[in-house]
């Protein structure tokens, strides 16, 4: 599996270098990851430090992107916003991916009745409008970062589980699994040594292509004050602050929207390039 993975990543890297757009996506994504990781060192100010005397400042040498309605440095807030966005996106898709693998293998490998039941649940969830589902869960649990992560998991798991289930079903019928069974291998061995490595790699591409959607959801719900709570900087609530101050400081809106545009574009370009290199059959998703 290790050699397959490294061959996969080498193919991906070669394809990326040949694809200008994919490379651009890679650079943007790498920049945002660096911003998220090194936020305390890169950000010129404390993102929460209020300085009302200098509110709505236009860009200057001391504040490259100006300040917001409380005089907080906008650039620092946006840099920390990358931390929030990527932190939530990676945590949520990571957990969702693991749950998807677990449930997908159970459905594909387990008894028929369990499969039928799980598929019904998956299909019910995927046939709902995503945002409606999110709003319903938020009403019950109350807005906040934990709820947001939970919502993203609920929305994404059925799709991943469906994907893993399909992969598992086709693998279970393959000759090498049959051979293992004939040799009286335990179910655990078949699942851990044969199914898991074969299905997990595929799912990674799907996960990476979903990241822009998750970033969008986080920002969108935070924009509606239903996600990350202020004062924690999130691209969504920064954009909301800017929107409220639209007429006083139009510049703030222009800057506050940029990271979202760049991040969603960057992740999509990168995801598309990886998809083309590794598995061209996958489709770009849109929000339901």
């Amino acid at each position: 599996m290790c050699s397959v993975a490294s061959r996969g990543s080498r193919t991906a890297w070669r394809a990326l270098r040949a694809d200008a757009l994919g490379m651009m996506g890679f650079v943007i994504v790498a920049t945002f990851i660096a911003m998220a990781l090194f936020a305390p060192w890169i950000a010129p100010y404390d993102p929460l430090k209020i300085d009302v005397a200098h509110k709505f400042a236009t860009p200057s040498l001391s504040h490259f992107a100006g300040t917001d309605q409380l005089g907080r440095d906008l650039l620092s807030r946006l840099i920390y916003g990358a931390r929030t966005a990527l932190g939530i996106a990676l945590t949520a898709t990571g957990i969702a991916g693991l749950c998807g693998i677990l449930l997908g293998i159970i459905a594909g490998y387990g008894p028929r009745w369990l499969d039928a039941l799980l598929v019904l649940v998956f299909d019910s969830l995927t046939s709902l409008p995503m945002i409606m589902l999110a709003l319903a869960v938020i009403t019950v649990l109350g807005p906040g970062t934990a709820t947001l992560i939970f919502v993203i998991i609920i929305i994404s798991v059925p799709g991943y589980a469906r994907f893993i289930r399909a992969q598992t079903l086709s693998l279970v019928r393959s000759d090498f699994i049959l051979a293992e069974r004939v040799m009286d291998a335990s179910h655990l061995r078949i699942i851990l040594i044969h199914l898991l490595p074969n299905v997990a790699g595929q799912l990674l591409i799907v996960l990476s292509m979903d990241i822009p959607i998750v970033i969008m959801l986080e920002a969108g719900l935070s924009y509606l004050s239903l996600g990350v709570k202020p004062p924690t900087p999130s691209w969504g609530n920064i954009l909301y602050d800017a929107y409220i101050a639209l007429r006083q400081s139009p510049f703030m809106v222009v800057v506050a929207g940029l990271p979202l545009v760049l991040a969603t574009l960057g992740f999509t370009f990168l995801g598309e390039a990886l998809r083309d290199a590794l598995d061209p059959r996958l489709q770009l998703k849109v929000i339901r």
């Binding site: 757009l21 019904l120 649940v121 299909d123 019910s124 046939s127 709902l128 409008p129 995503m130 945002i131 409606m132 709003l135 319903a136 869960v137 938020i138 009403t139 019950v140 649990l141 109350g142 807005p143 822009p212 969008m216 920002a219 969108g220 924009y223 509606l224 004050s225 239903l226 954009l239 800017a242 929107y243 639209l246 007429r247 139009p250 809106v253 222009v254 929207g257 979202l260 545009v261 969603t264 574009l265 992740f267 999509t268 370009f269 598309e272 770009l284 849109v286 929000i287 339901r288």
Partner: protein, 316 residues
């Protein structure tokens, strides 16, 4: 066909039932009761008791679930916690606005998307084709509420061409159309990109088909082949996703209606979620889910009626 129809409709009804059951289950699994959450720190025991009773929360869970479904079937979705108005009335009052917004957005997206897709096929392999591909992906990936805010800033605040808020004066068609343009553009742009990509891909498949080759052998111009022969077949997958598109557009309306302060089901739900106004959220979510499933199921049945191959998929 009848078999297929029964299965599809049965599945949709089952899903709606499961959704509402799950929502009820969540309400009861979560610590803190809806009444004190809605009332917040002002809750006195008497107020809470009154609210619990008015929301029917004092009865056993199965009675509540039963009542909810029985009432929902007769069009009674309960009452707003604060204004005491029937939720069904509130929904029906604003739903036409959302429907209008969605229809304008999807209609425009279909026309523009098919147009761009055809252009990309006509110019396939050229620089313009590649630029269109980048443009389509960009339109798909940038969030609609960010586009909405930029459109608002440029065309409403700076240029002043369109109103920044509201849905136009009631009865004044011109002002209503002016007010719908920016929000519709913000929601529709994702689908312009999506449809353009879809049309391009399915048309490129068709371009290798026998009847296209024959048309070419007859010496028809490329434009005529694309528009008259390829498009007719390539458009089928596009029609198939329009129902899903409509549902998704109605969902994105949640964001865009808030940006433009437009009355609509989206702003109704968002406001209710913020105040944890359970009956309104439950009723509106049920309504939107049912509407979405209705559109998607109807489209599926229509496609299955037109193309028997689709029916076999469910059977297999």
């Amino acid at each position: 066909m009848l078999n297929y129809a029964i299965k599809r409709i049965g599945l949709a009804v089952l899903i709606i039932f499961l959704v509402m059951l799950a929502m009820y289950a969540m309400v009861f699994l979560v610590p803190g009761d809806p009444a004190s959450l809605a009332l917040g720190p002002r809750a006195t025991p008497e107020l809470k008791q009154a609210l619990m009773e008015s929301m029917g929360l004092d009865k056993p869970v199965y009675v509540q679930v039963w009542n909810f479904f029985r009432n929902a079937l007769t069009g009674d979705l309960g009452y707003d916690v604060w204004s005491k108005r029937p939720v069904a009335d509130m929904i029906l009052e604003v739903f036409p606005q959302t429907l209008f917004l969605g229809a304008v957005a999807l209609g425009t997206a279909v026309v523009l998307g098919i147009g761009l897709g055809c252009l990309a096929v006509l110019w396939r392999g050229s620089l313009a084709d590649r630029l269109l591909a980048v443009l389509s992906v960009s339109m798909i990936s940038v969030p609609s509420f960010v586009i909405a805010i930029y459109l608002l800033l440029i065309f409403a605040v700076w240029l002043g061409w369109f109103p920044a808020i509201g849905a136009g004066e009631a009865g004044n068609v011109k002002s209503q159309i002016q007010a719908v343009i920016l929000p519709a553009a913000a929601i529709g742009i994702t689908w312009v990109g999506y449809i353009a990509r879809l049309v391009r891909a399915s048309m490129l498949d068709v371009m290798g088909a026998n009847h296209v080759r024959t048309a070419r052998a007859f010496g028809l111009t490329e434009r005529k082949i694309v528009l008259r022969y390829a498009l007719r077949i390539a458009i089928i997958p596009t029609i198939a996703i329009l129902a899903v598109g409509f549902g998704s557009i109605l969902s994105s309306a949640v964001f865009v209606e808030t940006v433009f302060s437009r009355p609509g089901i989206g702003s109704l739900i968002t406001g209710a979620v913020l105040k944890r106004n359970y009956p309104v959220v439950m009723g509106a979510v049920l309504f939107m889910t049912a509407f979405y499933l209705f559109v998607v199921t109807a489209a599926d049945l229509l496609m299955a009626y037109l193309d028997p191959r689709i029916r076999d998929v469910l059977r297999g």
